[in-house]
């Protein structure tokens, strides 16, 4: 690029031309001032002329769900133009890079998507998003959500985002035929049973006991083993300030994790989560632990799904030792400070938090509404089971650290690094030391 230079007007031109240049320059400068004047000084207090909604919902299913919510929004707010500012890329990596620069330049969208919970901490601490306590009160949203959920997404007692959907992390997918061949009666209920089952699969069939993908799926497995081994309360306590990661109980859980890792796929690092989950329905692996988005991938039709049948090709259960607990993750929407069309944003959040909006979005996305009063008739197959679990009295909620609920971005990356190093050195003591360090540096 170095050689390329913009064309400039030669200096020795006649007076007439240079005057014209001056006029153009003055017009451009004036226009720039007008534009910046519009965006800069006014915080758009009650501007409802439009709403720019920033998300990474571009994939199959989720894009349809967003379109359905957009239609609902336009029906309810005929005067407000809906601008869909979605950026492609799984779990929003690219979108978040774009968002960070927009927020730093004080050019926020009117509302942006974020995983509910600690993933929003950086924005909260930087003062980039508004508190939504009064929004929840005015719209009667508090009783509509599970109280444990609201507690777990609050920062210092305040709410900052409106959850739209819920996915479940602690799901075990298994191949019933391989379990039969290995002489395993049913899905393992505890971590100990799980390890016994993995041994049986390895000894009696030539199949992969537990299929695993690239490094992050090991992080996903780790959170499930931690939850299954420690129990819900101890797991939730790990993410409070000053949590004790050096305890013997954590050591036990990590030792279990190390044991389980011995039964995983050799080529894990060159497989993504789809490949790892697919191994179960293809009869190549007995078990896989992955979030419930795997269900949509298994049962959907080509090209985005595998067209497999539940009960014959695969079955599911809560991950070992986690029955009765819903390890959740959620997409939510926020209200950035200085949103150019604040009234439009509030109108959008009302739709995102409404029963109708969530019932339009979730069946298409393959998730369940975060509210407890969703229309049960709309959710069939696995989603019926998931909604039943979500609203079951006495269910305990735990946040998924890998999917943004419990860990801020530093701790999240540091745990990922610790797990990546563990995959190479298999040293449980080093892993635990690194997790202790990650918690200490989390700044939470």
């Amino acid at each position: 690029m170095r050689g390329r230079t913009p064309r400039r007007a030669p200096r020795h031109t006649t007076g007439r031309v240079s005057r014209r240049w001056k006029a153009i320059a003055a017009t451009a400068l004036g226009a720039a001032l007008v534009v910046s004047g519009c965006g800069g000084t006014d915080d758009g207090g009650d501007d409802a002329s439009q709403v720019e909604v920033f998300s990474w919902w571009t994939g199959p299913g989720e894009a349809d769900g967003l379109a359905a919510m957009k239609a609902e929004f336009e029906k309810k707010n005929p005067g407000t133009k809906f601008i869909n500012a979605a950026i492609a890329g799984g779990s929003g990596t690219q979108a978040q890079a774009v968002l960070a620069s927009r927020l730093q330049n004080r050019k926020p969208p009117d509302s942006f998507q974020g995983h509910a919970g600690a993933e929003l901490l950086d924005y909260i601490k930087a003062g980039q998003i508004e508190r939504l306590d009064s929004f929840f009160d005015q719209n009667g949203l508090r009783p509509a959500y599970p109280q444990q959920l609201l507690q777990q997404i609050s920062y210092k007692g305040h709410l900052y985002s409106v959850p739209v959907n819920i996915h479940r992390s602690n799901m075990l997918w298994y191949n019933p035929k391989i379990l039969d061949d290995a002489g395993i009666a049913g899905p393992p209920k505890t971590i100990a049973e799980f390890i016994t089952a993995l041994k049986a699969v390895k000894a009696r069939t030539g199949k992969v006991p537990l299929s695993l993908g690239a490094q992050w799926t090991a992080d996903h497995l780790l959170e499930n083993v931690l939850l299954g081994s420690l129990g819900t309360d101890a797991y939730n306590a790990l993410w409070k300030p000053g949590a004790d990661w050096s305890s013997p109980a954590v050591r036990k859980a990590l030792t279990d994790f190390a044991e389980i890792m011995k039964y995983t796929t050799a080529e894990a690092a060159s497989t993504d989560w789809q490949g790892a989950s697919k191994a179960v329905v293809d009869g190549k692996a007995a078990f896989n632990i992955m979030g419930d988005w795997a269900y949509g991938y298994f049962t959907g039709s080509a090209p985005n799904g595998l067209g497999k049948k539940v009960d014959t090709d695969f079955k599911y259960a809560a991950a070992p030792g986690t029955d009765g607990t819903y390890m959740w993750l959620s997409d939510s929407f926020t209200l950035p400070k200085g949103a150019p069309h604040r009234a439009g944003a509030i109108a959008w959040l009302k739709v995102a938090g409404s029963r109708e909006g969530q019932d339009l979005f979730n069946p298409k996305k393959g998730s369940i509404p975060a509210r407890t009063d969703g229309n049960k008739a709309l959710y069939t197959g696995y989603l019926q089971y998931a909604l039943g679990e979500w609203t079951k009295p006495g269910i305990k909620l735990a946040g998924s650290f890998w999917h943004g609920v419990n860990a801020g971005k530093k701790q999240h990356t540091d745990i990922d690094t610790a797990v990546g190093l563990f995959l190479q050195n298999k040293d449980v003591a080093k892993l635990q030391a690194a997790l202790v360090e990650a918690a200490k540096n989390s700044g939470q």
């Binding site: 230079t5 950086d122 930087a126 690239a214 060159s270 530093k410 990356t413 990546g420 995959l423 700044g443």
Partner: protein, 296 residues
Amino acid sequence: MARRWRRWLPGLLLVSPSIIAIGLFVYGLIFWNTRVAVSGKHDEITPYGFDKGRNFVDLWSQPSWPGAVQNALVFTVAFVGGALALGAFLAFLMDKGIRAEASLRAIYLFPMAVSFIASGVVWRWLMNPAPPQRAVGLNQLFGKVGLDALANSWWQHPTWGMAAMALPAIWQMSGYVMALYLAGFRAVPEELREAARVDGASEWKVYRHVVFPRLRPVTLSALIILGHISLKVFDLIMAISGKQIITYVPAVATYVEIFDRHDPANGATIATYLLLAVALLVVPYLVWSVRAERTR
């Protein structure tokens, strides 16, 4: 008076946009990067401040960093060595005058036109370390032709994995090295070779004592070009392995620190180290080539 400025002003005007652009977007950004590297800005909210270069020391106690440096070194040695050797060998064969040289030259050069991101996807599949019953790619090929012993874990080998990661890069760049060497071979005057032959030198000795010594500048250029590509390698790694620790290299670490960990100061520190490492290669080369030009 007027004549004198007429001589240099148009030239200056012509180059000044690029001087300004390079000053701003290359040197200005290098300055800004260094500024962030010596700051204490480890998240978005902390003001920049000044950290006396502590980041440059602290980085070495980060658990993932020594591995990233080691990976980059293994990759560099394998890639630069491999591409130089293969490129020189191909050029040597070409120089011996084979049929259809022009089309072969094009075939060897073609891989360079493919981006690392695209070829990486294919190599990710080729270098899959699955055991025989699930083997795909190269391992499957080895199994089919009875060379099971050659099947291996490729880039997932704990110590030498990065050497396997260099294979796609060697495949891609050796044609280019071949072109450089071929030009070098052709620049050796036929009279010199003739003279050596008249003196009774064998064909090997002609190469050993007459041709090879005259290839040193070519080798040096190739070394510099490959070396700086190698140190900055990012797209190939991201396409084949992503951000996994097993193939962590400094350029990937920069990305992770800035965009995943939200730590601008650490990211800038790594970027500065990368710049220094490349400068270590390029600056002596520039000095040397400027001197060579002056003496000419």
